[in-house]
């Protein structure tokens, strides 16, 4: 065989050498391609050998499932995790002090939120625009009513107040319709704006007729989610306004103020902003006016997020070609129409990944509120450890909390990458 000769060009195709295909080839190419790669592979395998078996053993194999106190777990073994801790404290970790017979309220809000988000997140599912309008204009008030209950407003204490609000609501609607018929944007805006405001007030006053559950009862993962979503929601419009202000060349003073705010807030750590909200906000407000703890934290976090959001939006504005601005000007659009119909739709689309990553950052940063005494997800875990029954289970608490954060944040970052890939195609020629 070996000394057979072939005509030029007639040698039959031979299979590739064993070392290049199959398992061996794969190993060679991916793990042992050079001597330092081989060394790295062996080193990492050794590290994994050191780390993985104990981890699996601790979390799963030796773990005690159930168990109603640390002593019960430790009586079985001290080598494994005591998951009875998470089990017993689960509702506390999720809802904090929230009334246990009302857990359906945050659950329902969560389900509505997820259902409404699906068409917004995945454009292939229809109904995105309706869902977005619902999320922006209706959902926040449903959330307030569901989680808190009817809001007690001084101006709405009596039936007289309610009547006045209802009348104003009707008047606003009438004005709005009138404006719409005459194509008068100003009248329309004022009319529907007033009507919307009154409708919200009346709705909050009614609040599904549920029992009031005070904000002091909010806690756990629920509070973490509320803090993150509300502050990102509030920071969006604020951030857009700040970004537009910063980009506005014609108004130097407005521009300076915006730059000043953005740079100042971005320069300082969130914790000082929270301290400020905690210690200085009460001083800033007139005697007798004060928000509660959670609202104060929300104010601080929203302002903080707005500065970051402004920079994200600015990135989007700068990515829009000058031609778009000029084309809009050429059409004779004024500033608001130009921004509303030409620039913002393009810019916001580009910045969605940036918004998601800002959200992830903020979501992780909500843990800082434990320093000002709020019972967020992390603090419910930490304070559970203060219980005689559960002390000494730090690893379980941190593992569980870390895992939940990881799953949520990792999911969001994957989504952002998926979006980036999808949006990218539109801008490639």
């Amino acid at each position: 065989m070996a000394d057979r000769t072939y005509e030029i060009g007639s040698h039959p195709d031979l299979p590739p050498p064993v070392s290049e295909t199959g398992v061996i080839g794969w190993l060679k190419h991916n793990l042992f391609s050079t001597w330092y790669n081989s060394l790295g592979t062996i080193f990492i395998l050794y590290l994994l050998y050191l780390a993985l078996p104990p981890l699996v053993d601790w979390t799963l194999l030796s773990a005690v499932w159930g168990g109603n106190s640390n002593q019960e777990c430790w009586a079985v073994t001290r080598e494994g995790a005591c998951w009875g801790f998470i089990d017993n404290r689960f509702s506390f970790l999720m809802y904090g002090f929230y009334d246990s017979d009302a857990y359906w309220r945050p659950n329902l809000v969560g389900i509505i939120f997820i259902l409404a988000m699906i068409p917004v997140l995945f454009r292939s599912i229809p109904g995105g625009n309706v869902a977005a309008v619902f999320l922006i204009f209706v959902f926040p008030w449903i959330t307030v009513s569901m989680l808190y209950g009817p809001v007690n407003m001084t101006t709405m204490g009596s039936s007289v107040g309610v009547t006045i609000y209802s009348l104003v609501l009707l008047a606003g609607l009438g004005l709005g319709w009138h404006g719409r018929k005459n194509l008068n944007l100003l009248l329309m805006g004022i009319g529907f704006g007033v009507a919307y405001f009154c409708a919200i007030a009346l709705f909050l006053r009614w609040g599904f007729g549920l029992k009031v559950i005070g904000t002091d009862k909010f806690g756990g993962l629920m509070l973490t989610l509320i803090l993150a979503t509300v502050s990102i929601g509030v920071s969006m419009p604020l951030g857009i306004v700040l970004a537009l202000g910063r980009q506005n060349q014609k108004m130097p003073i407005v521009r300076t103020l915006c730059i000043g705010f953005i740079e100042l807030v971005r320069a300082v750590p969130l914790i000082t902003v929270l301290f400020m909200a905690q210690f200085m906000l009460p001083l800033f407000l007139p005697e007798g006016v004060d928000f509660d703890n959670i609202v104060r934290a929300l104010v601080g976090m929203s302002l903080f997020a707005a500065a970051y959001m402004a920079e994200v939006v600015r990135g989007g504005l700068q990515a829009i070609g000058k031609g778009q601005y000029e084309a809009a000007d050429a059409l004779g659009l004024n500033y608001f129409l130009k921004m509303r119909f030409i620039i913002m739709p393009q810019a916001l689309k580009i910045v969605i990944p940036g918004i998601v990553s800002t959200f992830i950052g903020l979501f992780k940063d909500t843990t800082l509120v434990l320093i000002i005494g709020l019972f967020d997800f992390l603090q419910t875990g930490v304070s559970s450890l203060a219980d005689t029954k559960w002390n000494g289970l730090e690893h379980e608490a941190y593992f569980f909390i870390g895992l939940v954060f990881f799953v949520l944040c990792f999911g969001m970052s994957r989504y952002s990458m998926y979006l980036e890939k999808k949006l990218d195609t539109g801008y490639k020629r």
Binding site: V151, P286, G288, V289, N293, V382, S383, T388
Partner: protein
Amino acid sequence: MKYLKHLTAAAAVALLSTAAGAATLDDVKSKGVLDCGVTTGLAGFAAPDDSGKWQGFDVDFCRAVSAAVFGNPDKVKYTPTTGKTRFTALQSGEVDLLARNTTWTFSRDVDLGFEFVGVNYYDGQGFMVRKDLGVKSATELDGATVCIQTGTTTELNLADYFRANNMSFSPVVIETNAEARANYEKGACDVYTTDRSGLAATRVVLPDPGAHVVLPEIISKEPLGPLVRHGDNQWGDIARWTLNALVTAEELGVTQANVDSMKSSKNPEVRRLLGSEGSLGEMLGLSKDWGYHVIKSVGNYSEIYERHIGANTPLGLARGVNALWTSGGILYSPPFR
């Protein structure tokens, strides 16, 4: 500008806020809840249980005041405060009452604009060490590493004590009691210092409480008590006399169990306390039988004490100076007359 202020005030009130007017009682009544500041978690004094309900010695005082005002101990909104945030919370009107083992000091009472309504626990700062260190007295602690919980008078007392005894120490300054305990437990410090009640509360949650000892020295006086904002005497009186009612009830032998039958007692002071006679309640702006509601809902001082921090609880604190004056302590309530 005045107008603007009213406007903001109105807007803020409309938007989920709490207004702190001059008359706290009216405020509390119109809100329908008592805003009470507690710790973020200290075993025995205030800590959330598995179902997320606040429990503890300080918590029961909040409940007592709620019972006095509303006749119902559950109309309390608990605001957890850290050592740093507690005073701002009270000053700004976020809470109406702070029951958060806070030391009554001159500057807090006079300078910060608070009013302490009494003392519900006489405490003092002490030291806890491991038994195997062989330390018998705090004067042997030269060079030790000391865990301190920040935001308290503790760090000043500690520095003063070591300076006075010409000793040095390394501080490990920690934000919360739970972390301070974790540090101490793992040996990151030799000594844990805080109020002796806090030491007891911490000691019981250590894996082997018997291996730790609280040193005999008490380096400071720490009269712990509830406090309210200065300037609203009526509200201060309500809190003060609720506390006194708890003590007096113990003195007179009124308990949660026998309060119904005691209502028709022959003792005039019991009758005044429980509202069967006289009009003490009206003078406070409360209902006639406010004292009855207080005792009915939370029991007398001794019952609260034994329930949360007494000898039969994990904390196991003996009454000591916190016993009634009639049994060798310094707990003494002015008469209900």
